[in-house]
């Protein structure tokens, strides 16, 4: 190269080298800047997504716990109500047991009352059956009493039916009702084909079933939880 000294050439080369280095520095800075930017973006995105998922997860769990709490509370209330109802039932049953033994004592001690009961129970059954021939089962201890009452009963029956009906009543001498019963009769007709259980025990059971709500009301007052009272 004519006209350029060695120093000039060196200078130019040094200049070019500096330029190369400068370019490289700028490029590196650009890359580092980009790197930081992408780093923050990526990290931010990952964290935000994960946080949202975690929050949703725990919100769901909390809702579950709340629901369980409500269900459990409702179950406890129901169990409590049931407990009270069961106790009511027990008390009513106990009451009927004591009524039963009281009544048995009446049968035993109040002769007049029991005689009337036996008579009425027999007549009631006769009027339902309207059979010409019946058999009556009694407790062994009532046998003689029943025997003495039959003529009167037959007469009453004729009177009640205005003379249209009469009946032949026989007492079963082989079979007896349990001596533990409160009292009363079982009437059969047509060779045992028809049978009416008119014992005081059966009556008491029937009353218990029919009058359950009323008796509960008498004992415990009206039930505030009940919606229908027919």
């Amino acid at each position: 190269m004519a006209g350029m000294s060695d120093a000039d050439v060196q200078g130019q080369i040094a200049h070019m080298i500096a330029f190369i280095e400068q370019e490289a520095s700028e490029k590196v800075e650009e890359i580092e800047c980009k790197a930081e930017e992408e780093f923050n973006l990526e990290k931010g995105r990952l964290v935000a997504t994960a946080r949202a998922k975690i929050i949703e997860h725990f919100d769901k769990k909390i809702k579950q716990v709340e629901l369980q709490k409500k269900i459990q509370h409702s179950n406890l209330l129901n169990a409590s109500r049931l407990q009270v109802l069961k106790h009511k039932e027990k008390l009513v049953n106990n009451l009927f047991e004591s009524i039963s033994s009281d009544s048995a004592r009446i049968s035993q001690d109040d002769a007049q009352k029991y005689r009337k009961a036996l008579t009425d129970l027999t007549l009631q059954a006769l009027c339902r059956l309207l059979e010409p021939r019946v058999t009556v089962l009694v407790r062994q201890q009532d046998f003689q009493l029943m025997q003495s009452l039959i003529p009167g009963i037959q007469e009453s029956y004729v009177g009640l039916t205005k003379g249209k009906y009469q009946v032949d009543i026989s007492i079963d001498e082989q079979n007896f009702l349990s001596a533990d019963l409160i009292g009363g009769i079982v009437m059969t007709a047509q060779n045992g084909k028809i049978s009416i259980n008119n014992t005081l025990d059966e009556r008491l059971k029937h009353i218990g079933r029919q009058m359950q709500p009323q008796i509960r009301g008498m004992l415990f007052g009206p039930n505030p939880n009940r919606t229908f009272n027919d």
Partner: protein, 120 residues
Amino acid sequence: MTAGMAQKTEGIQQLLIAEKKATERVVDARKRKAQRIKAAKREADSEIQAFKNEKDAQYKAYEAEVLGKKSDNEVQIQQVTNQKVKELEVMLKKNQSIAADAVKGMLFQIEIQLHENVKL
């Protein structure tokens, strides 16, 4: 080779070296960039884990509180039940003889009715 020529070669060498160095620097920067982005995931993970632990602890505390209230609730409801049962007993004592008399009355009050289809 003249002295001039030797200088030229040297100059070109220097340039080539500088070029090479520059390229290496850029390549290196790119490598570091890739690593930085990988690091984003690692750092995110540890932040996320910390957040999860915090929420988990919060939840566990909440759960324990609810559990505590639950057994309190049970006890309270049982107390109310026991109270109601006691009241039943009191009412029974008060009303049982009236009810029993009513039932005994019904028991011995025997209504005699002719069958409805009977024509006399």
